[in-house]
Subunit: 338 residues, 2 copies
């Protein structure tokens, strides 16, 4: 007999969740009242929200036999929200969490979700961030929404709109691994057949590792524009191009170098590793621009340059050419395309 959420009252379920939630130094009032209270030393709150939906963003059971555990989904919820704060050059201060749960959801899944959320906060390097509250609802499919707040600690935020002509374009963190891992989950290659390289990609899809120290580091180093790569390098670079009104050119040789780490996955799946690098989202690496003279902070790799600002329609090119995917021509992830 698996204990399901339908067998507990809301308060009984909350009593199991609360002790598992990470409490950081910024929390002035924690869960249990109508709202929580977070310290905001510099007078500005950075805020974002992100949702994962069952069978869209994760499957409880994948074609290759993998499962997305509550721990995995909690980790990923934390990672992608922490990444949005990182991408502003800020540090996370709190999360509030909404879970929509089918009545058949095992209580252990919810407990593991709370564990994964808290584990990621600490392991990814955001121990000051608290899980400050949440909401539970019933529904026919699992939906996980996290809103996250952050502090700029007196710095200016790094927006998407600041890229200047001649700036270096750089990435930090993994690029394309989550996409390769997703393709493995959707394949018929069982996890027990994975080589270390395949297991690494699969794990980075299940539990992404955004480089949380790098956002504030880039801000202090003078980054002119920044965002996290959540929908694919080309699609997200196009967002910086449009916001900054500047065209971006990427260096194919460097990108092919980044793709080499995915070559073993690509061979196994008959896929194109460069397409993963250019269109794969959800690794939550950082895409940043820096003035030409700046020494890139540790962990950043130069992948191109910001070109003219006079084009009518800012574009992103690779070695001066428009990129065509070997697979489909798609630029990256769109939540509603059919």
């Amino acid at each position: 007999m698996i204990l399901t959420v339908a067998q507990l009252s809301e308060s009984e379920l909350l009593a199991r969740i609360f002790p598992r939630l990470h409490a950081g130094t910024s929390m002035l009032l924690g869960p249990g009242d109508d709202a929580a209270i977070i310290a905001v030393p510099d007078g500005r709150t950075v805020i974002s929200i992100d949702t994962q939906v069952q069978d869209k963003d994760f499957r409880l059971r994948w074609p290759n036999g993998s499962t997305s555990t509550g721990f995995d989904v909690g980790w990923k919820a934390a990672a992608q929200n922490l990444s949005d704060i990182n991408a502003m050059g800020a540090v996370a201060t709190s999360m509030v969490v909404s879970l929509t749960l089918p009545s058949t959801t095992p209580v252990s899944w919810v407990e593991q979700f709370a564990d994964g959320l808290s584990a990621a906060i600490v392991a990814l390097g955001a121990p000051q961030c608290s899980v400050a509250g949440g909401d539970l609802s019933g529904g026919s499919e699992l939906v996980v929404t996290v809103a996250v707040t952050g502090s700029l600690d007196g710095r200016e935020a790094v927006l998407r709109s600041g890229a200047g002509v001649g700036d270096q374009i750089a990435v930090c963190g993994n690029v394309g691994f989550s996409a390769a891992g997703w393709a493995l989950h959707e394949s018929d290659h069982a996890p027990d057949s994975f080589t270390p390289a395949l297991a690494a990609a699969a794990n980075l899809f299940a539990r992404p590792e955004p480089p949380l120290a790098a956002g504030p580091l880039a801000a202090r180093a003078g980054a002119t524009a920044m965002m996290d790569i959540s929908d694919g390098l080309l699609r997200d670079a196009t967002r910086i191009a449009k916001a900054s009104g500047a065209s971006l050119d990427l260096d194919g040789a460097v990108l092919r170098g980044l793709a080499r780490g995915l070559e073993e996955c690509a061979v196994v799946l008959g896929a194109d590793s460069l397409t993963w690098v250019l269109t794969g989202g959800e690794d939550h690496g950082l895409l940043s621009t820096f003035p030409a003279g700046v020494t890139l902070p540790e962990g950043f790799v130069r992948i191109g340059s910001v070109l003219s600002k006079d084009a009518a329609e800012p574009v992103v090119t690779v070695d001066g050419q428009n990129f065509k995917s070997a697979d489909s021509g798609a630029l990256g992830w769109d939540h509603f395309a059919v």
Copy 2:
């Protein structure tokens, strides 16, 4: 041909939403980047999150022929989140919104949602509050999550835990109207047959009117404990009793007085109006305690007193008796009870 969300790209859908979102004075950076930035003058952010799920919290089409429009769902999302901030004695500063949308969702529903959200913010008296960002996902049912931030403007928050022996218990705003309105929606009484009293209850269920000025007013008047009534007066009063370690006794005559405004609905539906007052949620009125000597702020009605703090298990009674619902004995709304 109805334009559905599946026919637009995410950026096309966002372009239709952004111009409809209310921008208040506290927004330093609005939607469009990885996160938004909100001004926090007093160094503390109050934060909460709340979710509505299709066919749990609302139906697109009700048994009596009513519809929940996008405007209604947006209004309610704003109202219940603004209420959580109000219940702390704070004023709202920002919302971030996550929408999970079936691909068949008409674009007009999403646009009306944005309109209802923004309209409620202004009409309910929170014009300083901005819709600062959001997230869109696909899913099999509509799920609407809003996270809200607020500012205490230098005041102390009013928690659930501060009720003291001898305190007056008071409510402000509607009590039981939303429950009566819900019962009408679930009945076979068509909206075009409604008398003004029935229409008022139905409208307050669709678009609740939390008394947003009253939270800060109560805080300034010295309220010792406060919460909004979202799950039913008895259930929520029990939360204050437990958090404060004190038993609460309510005045049956006053509660029957509050129920009189629901009598016409009760007769039409063969229901018990006092049960609606005691167990009906989602009006988002305020339940507060004040020291014995304090003159209650405008809009508050005294409904009882805080009794001893020495009971092993703090309880809520009506005229010294435990309440038994005429209908089911239930105390109020539980999100997982089956």
